[in-house]
Symmetry: C2
Subunit: 139 residues, 2 copies
């Protein structure tokens, strides 16, 4: 069954990990897991490590700078497929310096203990979510 | 630490769910969870329900027909971030009718009990994987 936007948002917000899809100018999708926080107004924040891991962190930032359209997915899997659900957030992303993402970094630190001792100080991905789409099995 | 391709493939193959990213011609990424099976030669199969769920199933197929480049992600999350890992498979996808995907449907049925009683008879997504990329925390 299709989920309403409020139910979809609540399920998404409860998840600890999501996946961020970007696309480069040639149409090659790129996909990485992210930790994230939702702010009021349907804004999602995700931090990039201060020391980017090889090219992966850089690719998502380069893609967003060239094409801000992104999709972010949360899903739940169970061997009983009636219990499956997923929620996708579509939106426009931007890359902002840590100094301009204090709200987002505060939210991330409050959600993830690992961020409290080592607050991210690299770039932050900020997504303005324009649509929530979700689906749930029957159970 | 970066994972070697064999380790990456083994971890990916052990997962029960993955996420498929496609991109439409305008560069809008699309993202859905999938169940999948890997065949020899680094080919991934994923079935589409015979009765597609609204537009979601159709979107991934339309995207692949217009742009075969896809990414598929498996990830593991833990509150101890040293235990995190993920593997991404990049490749070229095609949409094949069920009659031409017997190997894939057999593999899917052997992996997922839910498919044994109700073998998928709709379209099958077939991905020729060209690159395995993976990362694991320190633990």
């Amino acid at each position: 069954v299709r989920l309403g936007p409020d139910d979809a948002r609540d399920r998404f917000a409860s998840a600890r990990v999501a996946r961020l899809a970007t696309s480069d100018p040639a149409g090659q999708p790129h996909l990485v897991p992210i930790v994230f926080a939702l702010a009021p107004g349907d804004v999602l924040y995700s931090a990039v490590d201060a020391k980017p891991k090889a090219t992966t962190e850089l690719r998502r930032l380069a893609n967003i700078r060239a094409n801000p359209r992104v999709a972010v997915l949360v899903d739940f899997y169970d061997e009983d497929w009636r219990r499956l659900w997923w929620v996708r957030a579509d939106g426009l992303a931007s890359v902002v310096p840590a100094e301009e993402a204090v709200e987002g970094l505060d939210l991330l630190a409050s959600r993830y203990p690992a961020y409290r001792g080592a607050r991210p100080d690299g770039a932050v991905v900020r997504v303005e979510i324009s649509a929530w789409t979700g689906w749930s099995g029957d159970a």
